[in-house]
């Protein structure tokens, strides 16, 4: 089904649902075309390809609300589907807060190209994609004969969203994405194994890093772990690698959601305008970041997005409040979900921060663990390196860090100059003092 047909179909679904008894409806029609290639042992291990078409239909009827999803998009099925959706909605209890957003919150119009769609998507040759995965594997294996396995991969996706809401919103988003990377396993003389991986994720094919760099980075990350062991429990200063630091920021971001506040399960409740982190932490939510992985003019409710300073020098400025929870909490809506997260970056590189910190544990991987959103308490498994005099001394693993998110973020002492660009949360290297590590 081409774009024109899908657009007409979305209009028909909206009109049919309204004429069948819905007061208001929201329609999302999603098309996703994806390809994954996995390469191992000098040959393709898996080649997977498919196209998905999904309809999400939100029904608002007599202050009752339901959501329905289907991948069967012929009109005969859709008529029954819509009638079934309306019929099941009438049993639900009324919720006076459930309406489409005020249409004044919708974006006026797209003003400029946010660089989300790569025109070359349909012109790339399959042989080139396979070669890319092959080159990554070769680069990994070339680094050391200690490497016993490398599985490299190439993935691409082309996504199209048509979004319509019956009180006056019509929008679309066309985007592409590419991911390349490798998972590498190495063995020491005693046949102890260790593994690591490296992936790069971009909107444009030409922005992908060179295959050799990716393969070598994955292999190097793995090889440096050989000989890892746990060390004595204690309080250490920790340097957290840029690609991993988003795990720690996730504790704050998830507790900023309106649903968590309403359910009384956010440790950030009542903290707006107050200090929740050291003044080194400033967080900007930027929905207009060119080529950003969460860039968009409108959010999942169709409301216009906006650049927001979420945390300013450690002070909590905003929550993520959608229009539903805004009404329930009697607060002003912002946007219900985060987009691209940028920090106020410092001046030092990761190596400079290690040198400056002198002694501590450099965390390069989080393994499991969790945090309690209501209290902010956390405990995460980690692997990384003990460093002294700014130099790596030995690889460590099988250790936990444990504490409370507010204490941790108030102990942030340095912010690096190296945002990890292959993520929508672009954290740089971060340094925290007084973190409790448990090991031996």
């Amino acid at each position: 089904m081409d774009f024109k047909h899908r657009y007409t179909l979305a209009e028909w679904i909206m009109d049919y649902a309204i004429s069948s008894g819905a007061d208001e409806v929201a329609v999302d029609l999603v098309r996703a075309e994806e390809l994954d290639i996995e390469f191992c042992d000098n040959k393709i291990d898996k080649l997977e390809q498919g196209i998905q078409n999904l309809l999400y239909l939100e029904i608002y009827q007599n202050n009752r609300y339901s959501v329905h999803k289907s991948n069967l998009l012929d009109k005969h099925h859709l008529r029954n589907f819509i009638h079934g959706a309306l019929n099941s909605t009438r049993y639900l209890e009324k919720d006076l807060f459930r309406t489409l957003p005020d249409n004044k919150l919708y974006p006026k119009q797209d003003t400029y190209d946010l660089q989300l769609y790569d025109d070359s998507f349909n012109n790339l040759k399959d042989t080139d994609k396979i070669m890319l995965a092959s080159d990554i594997e070769k680069a990994s294996l070339s680094l050391s004969d200690k490497i016993i396995s490398s599985t490299s991969s190439y993935s691409e996706g082309c996504f199209h969203l048509i979004k319509m809401q019956s009180n006056g919103f019509k929008g679309e988003k066309h985007s592409t994405s590419y991911t390349i990377g490798a998972e590498v396993t190495a063995s020491d003389k005693s046949n102890n194994l260790c593994e690591d991986s490296y992936y790069a994720h971009t909107r444009f094919f030409n922005d992908l890093p060179a295959s050799e760099k990716v393969g070598k980075e994955a292999a190097d990350r793995c090889l440096r772990k050989i000989g890892q062991d746990k060390i004595r429990s204690g309080i250490y200063t920790t340097v957290v690698e840029n690609s991993e630091a988003s795990n720690l920021l996730g504790m704050i971001l998830s507790a900023m959601k309106g649903s968590s506040l309403f359910l009384r399960s956010s440790f950030l409740e009542g903290k707006k305008g107050k200090r929740i982190a050291s003044e080194k932490l400033t967080i900007l939510d930027d929905p207009y970041l060119s080529k950003g992985l969460r860039t968009n003019y409108f959010d999942s409710e169709g409301c216009a997005t906006q650049k927001r300073m979420m945390i300013d020098k450690g002070i909590l400025n905003e929550y993520y409040i959608d229009t539903y929870y805004a009404k329930k909490l009697k607060m002003k809506p912002t946007n219900g979900e985060r987009t691209n997260i940028l920090l106020n970056y410092g001046n030092s590189s990761c190596n400079e921060l290690l040198a400056k910190t002198k002694k501590g544990i450099f965390i390069t991987e989080f393994i499991g663990g969790n945090f309690n959103s209501t209290t902010g308490d956390f405990s995460f498994g980690i692997a990384g390196f003990l460093f002294e005099k700014g130099e790596i001394v030995k690889p460590v693993n099988e250790m936990n860090i444990t504490g409370n998110a507010l204490t941790l973020w108030n102990n942030l002492i340095e912010v690096g100059n190296d945002p990890f660009s292959y993520s929508s949360v672009q954290t740089p290297t971060l340094v925290f003092k007084d973190v409790f590590f448990s090991g031996d």
């Binding site: 291990d45 209890e93 396995s149 194994l193 009384r264 099988e398 090991g439």
Partner: protein, 471 residues
């Protein structure tokens, strides 16, 4: 069988033509995985059942295997043209002129057992009948303790119809019910606030939700939440732990289960590679992965490659005896499939996955196990886990538990991560209780971006040393 062909709107003749197309470039094997899945969710928030979600999913995955390579595509339109196009995409994995061998479908002659007998199917239950379940739990939760300030309930039921056809003539079907209930409670005392959840899940029909289940899940959610007010963070570091029976089985899932999935061993990336036949634990330790436990969340009549499931011993009397296989790995190792080939949906290829993984009961009593610990942690409920397949480092997050002091459970503990190494922890299992419980919580296993329902279980178990997160 005919009902399923009719349901998906295909005939044997069309399926044969699609498989012929898929193998036209010389692949060794092809299977077609037809699936219909309906998922319904009801949500209670703020004392009101005021939102619902319904999803319908329909399509076919077409897989071609050429030696150990896989070509795969899927289509959501079950028409001849769409399926032929997907078959051509999948066929590209092979590139030889090998001749396609003709075949005819032979429906199973043996009866496929039914491990999930139910009385009332989910498609026969409307929202009106389900709503009292949520309201009754909500009322029970608030009546149990005045400190409760929020209760949030999610009720999900799913039914899947599956038809699997392959180029060896196999034609098998399965009907899979699945239900899960999650109750999240928040309580407030003075200036502190705590939340916790209780879940139930299994391949049950609506009849499962009787008064006892409603009472038990409400009580469990409240108890687990208000207990946290008195909970402390233990000292961190290496110590003895006693795992409570039931959901502690997450230790097996992470410490050994993933490492025994045969695809990792075929690729030599698991630390259990080449270890079959070796002693890995004390003789009183036996661990199985079981697809046949009646109505359990991870049970399957057939796996997603059409093979019958079974109770597979991984460790028998302390000796490592089996890997978990899908088709590719069982052929690689020259063994029979174990019924572990699973996939999230028709959009994915199957890989070896666990079902219900548990340790058999052992010779010790729970009382003597706890009594034997001078200082340690008793772990009771868990939220999640993870493992590194090669290094064997695994973690699981303890939501609630107790300190053990001089052989007695004393103060509650909360929110600690436990990290260990799979083979080392197996060796360090020094006592096994006689009280195996398979957990009925909502566990979903993630691997290669695919989630599948599983369960796990354990009797009371003592591990002599492991690293506990603490302060």
């Amino acid at each position: 069988m005919k009902n399923y062909f009719d349901f998906f709107g295909i005939t044997e003749s069309i399926a044969e033509k699609i498989i012929a197309e898929a193998l036209s470039r010389g692949g060794d094997y092809c299977d077609l995985f037809f699936q219909y899945r309906s998922t319904k969710n009801l949500h209670l928030e703020d004392n009101s059942v005021n939102s619902s979600f319904h999803s319908t999913d329909f399509g076919v995955g077409i897989r071609v295997i050429n030696k150990e390579q896989t070509g795969f595509s899927f289509t959501e339109e079950i028409t001849f043209d769409s399926m032929r196009k997907a078959a051509r995409t999948a066929s590209a994995i092979a590139g030889s002129a090998k001749k396609y061998k003709k075949f005819r479908f032979v429906p199973e002659t043996e009866t496929v057992p039914n491990y999930y007998p139910i009385l009332k199917t989910w498609d026969s239950v409307n929202i009106k009948e389900k709503m009292p379940v949520l309201n009754n739990i909500n009322n029970a939760v608030f009546s149990l303790d005045p400190r409760i300030i929020q209760c949030n309930i999610s009720f999900t039921d799913t039914e899947s119809k599956i038809l699997i056809l392959n180029s060896e003539g196999k034609a098998v079907t399965d009907y899979r019910p699945l239900f899960s209930l999650k109750v999240k409670v928040t309580a407030e005392e003075k200036n502190s606030r705590e939340s916790n959840v209780a879940t139930r899940s299994g391949r049950y029909g609506f009849e499962f939700l009787n008064k006892n289940v409603i009472r038990d899940i409400s009580q469990e959610a409240v108890r687990k939440t208000v207990d946290l007010f008195d909970a402390v963070k233990p000292d961190g570091g290496e110590m003895q732990i006693v795992l409570a029976p039931g959901s502690s089985g997450i230790l097996l899932h992470e410490a050994i289960g993933h490492g025994l999935e045969a695809d990792f061993n075929r690729k030599k990336t698991s630390l259990f590679y080449n270890k079959l036949g070796e002693k890995v634990a004390e003789p009183f330790v036996s661990i199985v992965d079981d697809g046949t436990w009646k109505n359990a969340r991870g049970s399957l009549n057939i796996d997603d490659e059409g093979n019958k499931t079974e109770k597979t011993f991984l460790v028998k009397d302390g000796i490592l005896v089996n890997y978990l296989h899908d088709r590719i790995s069982s052929q690689h190792y020259g063994v029979l499939p174990t019924g572990n080939g699973r996939r999230q949906s028709f959009r994915y290829t199957p890989t070896p996955r666990m079902r219900n993984t548990y340790m058999l009961s052992g010779p010790h009593t729970p009382k003597e196990i706890i009594k034997s610990v001078k200082k340690g942690i008793y772990t009771e409920t868990f939220s999640n886990g993870q493992v590194l397949i090669g290094a064997g480092d695994f973690t699981f997050y303890v939501k609630t538990g107790y300190l053990i002091e001089d052989g007695e459970l004393t103060k509650p503990v909360k929110d600690i991560n436990i990290i260990g190494n799979g083979p080392e922890v197996l060796k360090d299992v020094v006592m096994v209780g006689d009280d195996l419980i398979l957990d009925e919580g909502t566990w979903t296993c993630g691997k290669e971006s695919q989630g599948v329902p599983v369960s796990h279980g354990l009797p009371t178990v003592k591990v002599s040393r492991i690293t506990v997160g603490g302060i």
